[in-house]
Each structure stands twice: as structure tokens, then as C-alpha cells.
Symmetry: C2
């Protein structure tokens, strides 16, 4: 009897390590789908707090809430990492119309781009010149552009399967359009929303004035895709129509904020750090459920799911909820700066910042040897329909952690619906499906489990030699 007891104790103590990778990953998915916390956390973040623009009261509420929830998980360490962030406010809602003839107006849906200056108090009214590209704008030159509102109307390429590729092919209009038009003396900029669908939502997002002088800085707004089509059609009939808009946004001094960090300290190689994260800030129009509430709660649940699945990591696993990805990347940069100061060894970092949709796989920023290792794990993911393992980008917030021999990765969910909601008022909780969100959390946890168990190839070899 005693002998049996010892065997049974032995088996229970080593139950996880005795399980095959298939079994452990099955447990992780089971836990996430039947006992996950990500959806409940997202409900609070989205519906009780809401949009969390850097420097806002809501952003600070999100810091406090997520720290409190991480504290409850019984991690080895939870802390706030101070970071100064920009504070830009939208003010009272924007107002815009197309004026075909004096007094004959059609109201349209716009929103100020993040970082834009306001219009004059009385608004801005001017003739409109439509262009498809910044190059086209430059060719037109100062004479054609001066005093006008430049309307950037290049749509996202609907033929691309990855909507992120389509976004990448268009976002220069939003980011740099006002700077380039300002240099040529334009009075304002209107940009077609980065949205593949025709609807009434304007989509905000970051923009820059670069280093142009304040005198050349002009107000910039996004217009809904339906209204971009309308404006373009009306211009084709009569290019003497005018556009009016008024926006009341304002840039303040930087304010204090925080990255929220929680850690399970590794049992064997505590100095090898693996990060999983998303960004805690969001734009202000919706509640930021997909961008990036989803990534935040999934990352939090990775640490919880490891514990719930009985996995004791050999390496240190850190969840990092980055502040200010949207309009500054201050959180991502600060985290990497502190890591460097402390000479920390970040062997792996995984980001979820592409929406809470059905996960399809990961993209990796790593060496060929590391990528080979990842590909060897692909069969383990097949039962969960995770099939996409490609080299490519990882994520904005973990990017600053890149070193020659570590691995960065980004979760890649199905991208078809992402830009329906991205940076718009309809990025809200009801557009996140519970199961899709939970499958993402389980997929992330499974990859973290594998990297923790097998290590990062070249580094682990160094370790073995050193040890």
C-alpha cells in the first residue's frame, strides 16, 4: 500500500511532465474553452471602462483594473512600469458637410485623425482636390493645392487576401498626407477611412506632421467610406463644390502612465524571459475590444491558463500590457529600454494585436534555425486548425526587443473582418466572439508552453554548455 502511495504521489507530482505535448495542448484548449477568463475580462474592459486613449482617465482605470486582476492570479510578481505618454483629446464631436451650392449642404461622417490640430473655431471651408496618392499630390504641386482641402481617396486593395497587406498599401495617406499637403499650402486634409467595407463609420488612426513648422500644420480628418464615395462622385459632377469641417482636438503635455506587468518566475532558467502581450491603450471612438482589448485579455489568460493546466514554466513568463501603442509606442519602447538597462535576456516575445478573431497561426521574426524548430511543432496545432506559420513581422510593441538570436512572434487571427472595426466607433464588445477569443488565448499559451519546454535553439545550446 505504501509503495502504491509513493508511486501515485510520484505520478501526480510529475503528471504534467509525464504528459505528451499533445495532451498538454489539449488541456490548454479545454481550459480556455470551458474555463477561460478572457471574455469576462474583456467585458469589463470594454463595457465598464470603454475606450482607453493614452493619457485619458479610462486608460488609468484600465491600468488599475488589469493590475488588480493580475494580482488575483497568484503570480510571482506584478508591477507597474512608469512611462510618460502623449495626451491628445478629441473634444466635442466633429462636424462636416459637402456644400454643392451656398446653403445646399449634405452632412457627412468624419473624425479627426489622432494627433491632428483643430480647425479654426468657426470651422474650415474650402474647395476640394481629390488625389489617390502622395506622389500624385506632389506632381500637382503648390499652385493646384494651395488653400484647398486635399482629399486622399485611394481605397484598400480588395484583391489582397491579407487585409493587413491592403492596410499597409494605403495607410501612408493617413499617416503622412497632412504633412505633405501642408508643405504645399493646403488648408486641410480629408482621408478615406482605412476600411474595406462601404459603411458610415469614420476610422481614426495616427498621423504625423514630421518636423514641418507650425505654420504648415493643417487639420486632418478621416471620412467614412460611404461618404468618400459620395464626395468623389459629387466632385466628378462639379469640382467647384466645397467641403466644411470643424474639429476641436487638442494636444496637451505628456502625462504619467504605466505598462502593467505580471510574471511567473522560471524554475530552471529564471534569467531567460519570455514576454506575451498586447496594448492596453485604444483609440477613443469605440471601446477598443478588438484593438487591442482582445490581445490584453488573451495575454493575461496565457499566464492563468499555464497555471490552470498545471504547467510550471522553466523560464520566466511575463505578461506585459503596453501603454500607448496607438499614438506613440512609448510603452513598447520604455519596456525595451528598461530591459536593456537591466541587461535582461528576452529570449522570446509574442504579441496579440490583430483582433480577437479565430486564430490561424503566427508570424515570426527569427533565424532560420529557430523557424525550423517552430515548423516541427506545426502538427501539434493541426487539431485546432492552426495552420499559418510564416516568417514575417511580429508586432509593434515587442519589436524593440529584437536581438539577433531571439524570437519574436505575432498571433495571426483571421483578418477578413478586422478593418470593419479598426479604430472606429463599432470596435465594440458585441463584435468579439467568445470562442474565437478563447481559441486565440489557447493558441498563444500552447506556443509559450512549447518555447518554454524546448527553449530557443541557439540560446539553449549556450545554456547547456555554460551549465
Amino acid at each position: 500500500m505504501k509503495y502504491l502511495f509513493v508511486i501515485s504521489l510520484f505520478l501526480s507530482l510529475f503528471s504534467v511532465s509525464a504528459q505528451s505535448d499533445e495532451e498538454v495542448i489539449r488541456t490548454i484548449y479545454d481550459q480556455s474553452l470551458s474555463n477561460g477568463k478572457s471574455y469576462e475580462w474583456l467585458d469589463y474592459l470594454s463595457n465598464e471602462i470603454g475606450g482607453r486613449l493614452s493619457g485619458s482617465l479610462n486608460a488609468e482605470k484600465a491600468v488599475a483594473y488589469t493590475k488588480e486582476e493580475l494580482d488575483k492570479l497568484g503570480l510571482d510578481k506584478v508591477w507597474l512600469q512608469p512611462v510618460m505618454v502623449p495626451k491628445w483629446t478629441r473634444g466635442v464631436p466633429e462636424y462636416a458637410f459637402i456644400e454643392s451650392t451656398p446653403g445646399n449642404t449634405t452632412q457627412v461622417n468624419i473624425c479627426a485623425l489622432g494627433g491632428s490640430i483643430a480647425t479654426p473655431d468657426s470651422g474650415l471651408k474650402a474647395h476640394v482636390i481629390e488625389v489617390q496618392t502622395i506622389e500624385e499630390l506632389k506632381e500637382l504641386g503648390k499652385e493646384a493645392v494651395e488653400g484647398k482641402i486635399v482629399f486622399f481617396n485611394r481605397p484598400m486593395n480588395e484583391k489582397l487576401i491579407s487585409t493587413f497587406m491592403a492596410y499597409g498599401g494605403c495607410v501612408d495617406q493617413r499617416y503622412a498626407g497632412a504633412m505633405e499637403a501642408g508643405k504645399l499650402g493646403a488648408s486641410g486634409v480629408i482621408v478615406r477611412s482605412m476600411n474595406l467595407r462601404l459603411d458610415d463609420y469614420p476610422h481614426t488612426g495616427s498621423m504625423t506632421y514630421g518636423d514641418i513648422p507650425p505654420s504648415q500644420r493643417i487639420p486632418a480628418a478621416a471620412i467614412s467610406t460611404n461618404d468618400a464615395e459620395l464626395l468623389s462622385s459629387m466632385l466628378k459632377i462639379d469640382n467647384s463644390i466645397k467641403f466644411f469641417f470643424k474639429q476641436n482636438c487638442r494636444q496637451f503635455k505628456d502625462v504619467q502612465s504605466y505598462n502593467v506587468i505580471g510574471q511567473i518566475t522560471g524554475s530552471e532558467f529564471p534569467e531567460e524571459i519570455m514576454v506575451v502581450g498586447g496594448h492596453l491603450d485604444s483609440w477613443d471612438l469605440g471601446d477598443g475590444s478588438h484593438d487591442d482589448g482582445a490581445g490584453v485579455v488573451q495575454s493575461m489568460d496565457v499566464l492563468r491558463l499555464l497555471k490552470e493546466s498545471g504547467i510550471k514554466p522553466k523560464r520566466t513568463i511575463r505578461v506585459v500590457l503596453f501603454m500607448n501603442e496607438e499614438n506613440g509606442l512609448r510603452g513598447g519602447n520604455k519596456y525595451a529600454e528598461v530591459a536593456k538597462q537591466k541587461n535582461e535576456n528576452h529570449v522570446f516575445a509574442l504579441e496579440s494585436d490583430a483582433g480577437g478573431f479565430t486564430p490561424r497561426g503566427f508570424s515570426f521574426d527569427c533565424s532560420d534555425a529557430n523557424f525550423e524548430q517552430v515548423l516541427s511543432w506545426k502538427p501539434l496545432f493541426k487539431p485546432y486548425l492552426i495552420h499559418y506559420f510564416e516568417k514575417g513581422g511580429s508586432g509593434a510593441d515587442v519589436g524593440p526587443l529584437k536581438q539577433s538570436n531571439n524570437v519574436l512572434a505575432g498571433l495571426r487571427p483571421d483578418s477578413q473582418r478586422y478593418f470593419d472595426y479598426h479604430h472606429a466607433a463599432n470596435d465594440t464588445f458585441e463584435h468579439v466572439n467568445k470562442r474565437e477569443l478563447e481559441l486565440g488565448a489557447a493558441t498563444m499559451t500552447s506556443l509559450i508552453y512549447l518555447f518554454d519546454k524546448y527553449g530557443i535553439n541557439p540560446i539553449s545550446k549556450q545554456k547547456t554548455i555554460k551549465d
Copy 2:
């Protein structure tokens, strides 16, 4: 010059056949994503016609509309195939409540199951007995069940990745629950909706009384998942509570309806027929956008996309819009019956009846040799993130076409959200994403293109020998 002209004519005539499969498939996806008709057709079917229950006026409107649209495509032949279908009507909306004590009631959301009888005009009120399975019901026996309302409350298994597997593990309660409870003298049946999400929508669906005598036939309804949870909680506190429901459904005599069929006749092997289809009928609560408006419009667009992409099929391609999949499968059976009478050779049939979500691949019902052929095409689909090629079921409507040496297939879209909408009032147009729908149509067209070009292995070999 003349020589050049001849070369150029030659090249333009053979432009499609000169293209690689990669190029042709790229063209098909480009066409669907930038010039598809599926979404426009679905808009009409869903928003102008609406729910299309067999035997209803709407079902006949859908027959007329889709025939008219197929007529416009310039196919070689478009026709209606007569089929008699059942006619069951819901009547005025159902009404139900839980009565904790006389006069103390809580209203709940139910809907009659398709094919159920009505309650008495004054409704039905009785004590409730909750069971998880039909086996549990049988074990309880007549004494425990007689006169009571049996409440089947087994939830779908959330741990399964395929929600169709979870559905398959639960749907016996809905399909056979009333028959089994009726045999034991129950007065009515309430079934937890086949829905993985907790919400307020009751989900209808087909049920059977088998061959039990009319005296044992009892009314059956589905209850929303939220209300199933509520009822179960209340029963745990007090099992003397009563349930009241009133429903007014009615079965009429069979009525005349039609399968809608369109054809491109093959240029080389016209006697080899390839079918692509979905079902034109739907349940009555929503507008049937996912089930199966999506499959209908995708199948129609397959023939149109072949034409728009400059593909002239060697084999005969038929779109078949089947009537009465939901509560009888009369259309699918009739089509196969006529095909047999005419001694038609159906070499391939593809069904889309799993929602208009992002396509992930196909399941196949075929020989190992045919499946090997399919797997050799898998790399062609990789750029479109189509990765799921597995042996398994095809679809209910094409099932009757099965022969030993042909290939049946079913489109497999992402299944996570399907049962949020399935057979419920929220299966509506706004829950279908245009791009996801169009990607499905392109994926189907690409598979049809490949089977047309390369033939079905064993049959093609016979042909080669015979020819």
C-alpha cells in the same frame, strides 16, 4: 504582320488554357473579390424576400428570383425541376413562461420545432422534468414522466473545435426527444437551443414523431440558452414549478415547389456532370442568410465566375438550388432520383451549407485515389489560406448522388460563429461579411475548375480508354 496577327489570335484564343493553374485561380479570386455578385444576390434574397420555409410564398419568390438571375447569366440551360414539399407553418408567435407559484410567472423565449404539433388552444401547463439525454429519460420511465413537460438540457460540448461535431453530439434531443417522451406519456417537450453561446434566441430545427400514433404526439419547442439556464436553476431550487407554453403551428398537405437548375454544357465531356449547390429553403425565424442563402449565392456565382474568368469547362457544370433541405430533403432526393432515371453521370458534386464565413477548405466523400488527387492541389490554395482538406461528409443535398467512383465534397468555412445564428431569428444579412462570402465562392470555383480540368481519376481513365 500577318504572321504576328495569327500568333496573337492564337494566344488570345488559348489564353486561359495557356495560363498556369496558379494564374487561373488568382483570376478567380480577383474576380470574386472585386467583381463578385454573391453579396448583391444575398442582399436581395435576405432583405427583399426573407425567410423561405418550404411551401411558403417566400420560397416560391426565391425560386422565381434565382431562376431570373440565372437566366441573365447567359448559361446554356436554366430550368425548374418540380418537387412536392411539406408545408408546415408556425402561425402566431409562441408564448411561454415559468410559473414558480400560481400567478408568479417569468416569460421565456421559445419557438416551436419544425414539424411539431400545436399545443391546445389554451396552451399547455405542467410540471417539468429535466434530463440530459434520451437514455436518462428512458431510465426514468413512464411513472416519472407521465403528464410532465420533459426538458432536454444537454449543452453543446464547448471543448470541441468543430462546432458541427458539438451539434452532432446534441441534436438527437431536438430531433427525437418529443417522440421518445411521447412514448412515455409526457405532455410536451422543451429542448435547449443548439447554440454554444448564452443568449436570448430560441433556435428551431427539424424533429420527428417517427411512426408513433397521433395520441402519443406531443408539442415540442426550443428554448433559448439563457432561458434554459434559468429554468434549470429554478428547478434546482424547487422542482414543483410549472412551465406553460402555447404554440400554433400546423402541418398542411404537400405543395408543389421546385429545384432551380442552371447549366454550362461541357465542351469535351458534356455527359460528365459536376454539380455545385446549396439549399434555397430556410427556416422562417431569420432571413436564412447563413443557412443557406450564402450557399445559394456562392453556387450561382461559381458559374458566373467561371465565365468571367474566361474558363470554358470541358465537363457540364450545373448549379442546383435545392428546395426543402431543412424539413424533408425532398429537393436533394428528387434531383438524385431524376438523375438516376435519366442515367446521368454525376462525377462530382460540391455543396456549400455551413455558412458564409471565411472558407478554410473542404471535406470529401471519395476514394483514396481521388483524395490523393485532391491533396496534390493543396499548394494551389495556400495563398488563399485554404488549408483544410479532409475525408468526411459532404452535404445533405448532394449525399443522394453518391456512387462508388464519384466525388462528393462540402465547403468547410470557419465554424466558430455558425451556431450563434443557425435556425434563429438573428440569421440575418448583417451577420454575413462580404469578403468572407466572396472568398468562399472563389474557393468553390477554384475546386470546380481543377476537377473540370483534370477530371475524376478513375472515371477519366475509363474515358480515355473508351475514347
